[in-house]
Symmetry: C2
Subunit: 199 residues, 2 copies
């Protein structure tokens, strides 16, 4: 704006610099699975452990996304696709900000998860399949949604009246039936260490 | 899930904890002003300085938002409102993640800026008015947009064929005509220090 300004070198802070500052390799930990499969519980446990280790995280779920950014969306097929698209784009921006992003959405369709995978670099998308049998999820039924779905009060409910397409080659498979919460979380933390996402 | 799990206390990481970890008080620095008023330049300079001081930032602008999260939006009145709404919600999530968020959008209408202000806590929204006269912006015309707007090639161009509503009580007013880039950035950094957003 003045000659003086030309001397001062304007340098945009880069994704790599933000990542180095936080001493981590930003990525999305994409939790997918049926309602009641443990997505919120295990992602919450992983976030707690990462935070205690000094890493910089953020967890996106229905609670903080559906009531804000995506409050204009309902549950039609088109709106569900748009919901996941926005979560993907949001995660991409948070990766750019240097964060380890966790997402906890049923995200039942392969095509939608692949869409998000393709938004970011190959090593930045870590699909975590919560491999909990429908029977177990329905027994847990933490929000009473399966009961409503069986009664016909909720339509297009994943696992009951709408498909869940299991991931074919997820980076991590978690069995909440066989492992405790802490063991599930540790399995994910170990994956992150082995892949040098954290130290 | 098993009795063992009940012992392990699951504690969600809070906004305050993420903020403390980063040793800053998260907020939005909302830059508003005409095209060519210096929003990108000054917000970029502020981000650079904050990063060098060790703070955790992210800058949202047309480049990273319009091509991704908001790529389904055009420039109709409704889409412009939705654009700003989503940037606001996105900023709110990034505040929750503990970041100092900067946004560089013309955001010409008071109602839209107030909408964002009301999304977050009172001290979290810092409106920065880039008070550069239209004449100067038009002389700079960094992207050749004013020329196109004068030729009628661009319709509804802020300052030419669409209103810009100046903020009445912005937290910070920046005059890029009177100050150098570095002085503008320092004025904002000093505000952040005085208001204990950074140390």
């Amino acid at each position: 704006m003045t000659v003086k300004n030309i001397i001062w070198h304007l340098h945009n802070v880069t994704k790599d610099e933000r990542a180095k500052q936080k001493q981590q390799r930003p990525c999305i930990l994409w939790f997918t699975g049926l309602s009641g499969s443990g997505k919120s519980t295990i992602s919450g446990a992983v976030e707690q452990k990462l935070f205690e280790l000094g890493y910089h995280t953020y967890l996106l779920d229905g609670d903080n996304v559906r009531h804000g950014l995506n409050k204009d969306l309902a549950f039609s097929d088109g709106d569900r696709v748009e919901n996941i698209r926005r979560v993907g784009e949001l995660s991409k921006l948070m990766i750019d900000a240097g964060l380890l992003v966790m997402t906890a959405f049923i995200s039942p369709f392969k095509a939608d998860r692949e869409m998000v995978r393709n938004l970011v670099q190959q090593h930045e998308f870590i699909e975590i399949y919560m491999d909990t049998p429908l029977k177990v999820c329905e027994q847990r039924d933490p929000k009473g949604l399966y009961k409503k779905a069986r009664n016909g009060e909720i339509k297009n409910f994943t696992g009951i009246s709408s498909d869940y397409e299991s991931p074919e080659l997820p980076e991590i498979v978690i069995s909440t039936v066989e492992l405790s919460i802490e063991e599930c979380a540790d399995k994910i933390i170990n994956y992150l260490k082995e892949n040098r996402i954290i130290n």
